[in-house]
Symmetry: C2
């Protein structure tokens, strides 16, 4: 019998979310009533009904013990698509779009992404760190414990490396786990205007080797759409990324379907993201290739787009993840549970699918199914405790924060201070 370092008792509902990587079904959230969780060495040691806890794990005077009084426990939430590190804000553009200006038109005039590029290039690495930290903290207050973070507002060797180094530092300074993605192919920078091919060569020949050499990114992403990059560009960039050990992912079909999902599947991409416009053939290819569909209802909302119908993906056997798409242009929010609300109300996911979308399926989009986004035994002890009586209220009671306490790798990293440790009363920091 193993000794627990921390135990949580009396979760009214504890959702383990069985990982898809080991056969977890698309609608199974692994609900345990009056649940308990035992943690040792930063991992889930045991999970089950509170009544059975001490038959399975040893609780000693050193064990940190919490009584949750019926609150809901889920795996720490996972946001698989954010643009965490940037400078500047674009509230004016939000108003322009409301007045009917199309996004691609704003982009073509040097607004959109490129205005954030100017602000981000002007910022120092320290400034970017300082700006990103409160965003991570806000994520934490919504129960989010893992956040993917893309570069892509530098668009030059110097500034992309600066952003990725800031991303690395933010992940070291803050308890939230940060998964870095290189998105040098986010837009064609002004100095390469009308010379896109030259920028793609620069990406392939100089930027990618430098990023890989410093081990600054785990994934490589590219924005395939009208006015940005083509499928042929994606083949070059993601092909080279794979050779250098970066796993591909792709912004595909946000405005038009260029066949990105099929290429994503062929390249073994972890995910294809956006997908407002995707053909049945694209969906079939994603299902066959195990590519996760990362849907971004916040961006569709901000852009006044019709959000995609998630049932097209779920019915074809594609795992659907949900993300905030946190970015200064089209989705300025860290409220990941709000994406569950939009996922259910607009994308037509079931509540179970929406929860998997911000836990296991999001983890799968980051190549981490079974490691995070689940409370399966052996997974990272990333835990969110919510002050609700039913887990479906996370989506139903929307726009407001519900998290009470968050653990990452078994450490309490955030709390509203309404949950008190019941033992040991004068414990070590470890408890």
């Amino acid at each position: 019998m193993y000794e627990a370092e921390i135990v949580l008792r009396h979760a009214g509902q504890l959702l383990t979310v069985p990982p898809s990587a080991t056969g977890g079904a698309p609608d199974d959230v692994g609900l345990i009533e009056d649940g308990a969780l035992a943690i040792a060495e930063g991992r889930v040691l045991w999970v089950g009904p509170t009544a059975e806890l001490e038959r399975h794990v040893k609780v000693t005077g050193d064990t940190g013990q919490y009584d949750l009084h019926g609150r809901v426990v889920t795996p720490g939430l996972v946001d698989p698509h954010t643009h965490l590190v940037f400078a500047g804000a674009r509230e004016r553009e939000f108003a322009l779009r409301a007045a009917g200006r199309p996004y691609l038109e704003i982009l073509a005039e040097g607004g959109g992404i490129l205005s954030t590029v100017r602000a981000t290039r002007a910022a120092t690495e320290d400034e970017l760190v300082r700006l990103a930290l409160p965003r991570l903290q806000r994520f934490l207050t919504y129960g989010v414990t893992t956040v993917e973070a893309k570069s892509g507002y530098g668009l030059s060797l110097e500034h992309e490396l600066k952003i990725l180094r800031a991303t690395y530092r933010v992940g070291e300074l803050h308890p939230v786990r940060v998964v870095p993605t290189f998105l040098g192919a986010h837009a064609v920078p002004a100095e390469f205007r009308d010379r896109k091919a030259a920028y793609v060569r620069h990406l392939v020949d100089e930027m990618l080797p430098a990023v890989a050499g410093e081990r600054l990114a785990e994934f490589c992403d590219i924005f395939v759409d009208d006015g940005v990059f083509s499928l042929a560009d994606a083949r070059k960039v993601l092909g080279r990324a794979k050779e250098l050990g970066l796993r591909p992912r792709m912004h595909a079909g946000q405005f038009n379907d260029h066949g990105g999902p099929q290429l994503a599947a062929r390249l073994g991409a972890a995910s294809a993201d956006h997908l407002e416009h995707v053909s049945p053939a694209g969906i079939r290819a994603m299902a066959k290739g195990g590519v996760v569909a990362v849907l971004l209802p916040g961006a569709a909302l901000s852009l006044g787009q019709t959000p995609p119908d998630a049932r097209r993906f779920t019915e074809a056997g594609v795992r659907v993840a949900l993300a905030t798409d946190l970015n200064p242009g089209t989705s300025m929010t860290e409220n990941l549970p709000l994406m569950m609300t939009l996922g259910i109300a607009q994308l037509k996911l079931t509540p179970e699918q929406a929860l998997r979308g911000v836990t296991d399926h999001a983890a799968a989009a980051l190549g981490r199914s079974g490691r995070v986004g689940t409370l399966a035994i052996g997974a990272a002890a990333d835990v969110a405790v919510f002050d609700v009586g039913d887990w479906r209220r996370l989506a139903y009671h929307f726009g407001v924060p519900h998290a009470e306490m968050v653990l990452i790798e078994g450490e309490v990293v955030w709390t509203r201070d309404r949950i008190r440790k019941v033992a040991p009363r004068r414990g070590s920091r470890k408890g």
Copy 2:
């Protein structure tokens, strides 16, 4: 020169929002840069640039002084349509609707409103007070200082009075200003099934006189739509309400247009609410009658409806207000700034119109333009301080709380404790 009890200095942007009742234009938010506000006897004493403050008001050693360090100041926000007082939750129904079940079908089967009626009837007045208080507190953390609150989950003399008494007590216990509306005509209760005419008689002959006799409501509302009440019912109920001194308002056109807006105008209603379905003639009648259009994007979102295009109203000269519609069925949220986001992104309001929609136009919907929802001199000193650098970020950076400090009638009633009073250092409670 008058003596100030409280002064706020150095608001990066201070928005006075000139009241429409005294000619405030539909797009004017009254922006003052580096603004200051002086308060005396719970009212706005003076407002203008910080540099001019002490030329206009006397600041003494007793004046409570705050330096806002560039934060944004708006009038305390006004939510003109909520169902604040109820028991029970309906997260299961949220999932049913996501699975494609129409709301009116759920209602016809005794779900919807009627399931909340059962839970609310079973609750005591004390329980209803206890349930409503945290909702008001949540409103406050979004900068909301006035909330309309409808009855309508009792649907019998005994239980409607219980709800309205609970509403009155909540308003006494909590600093947020609560404006009560009698909505006995929210649905036909089970015991009057197939006897709607008898229920309408009961409303007119017994419930309305009792409500008016106890002075428990300022407004009377009715839900005019398929399967609920007809225009003829509305004529009877609202006509009698007017005789008894209650001002009319109306749920109109949520699912179908029955001509409610025209009747609302004829009766001198303060507002017509929902309006997903409304004819050009209905809009013209509202413009002519000065009826405020209260739009509810949270309900449209939860129901998967196409939200109304607010430009139809603004272009016709109708004042548009935005509300959460807080209710356990179709819009469970206290996040009023999120309605500004939806108002801009989906309803096509400008940021200026969206701000007026939760301040002056919302106040007008409650018959209070010039008294709340504005920082005009003489208005209630209800003030929201937000930790943003530009007021448009309230809508742009969505789903997350931005309020830092809230005053109601000149008293600091809520703060995140990051704004410190600079003088007097050891002040009285009054400061």
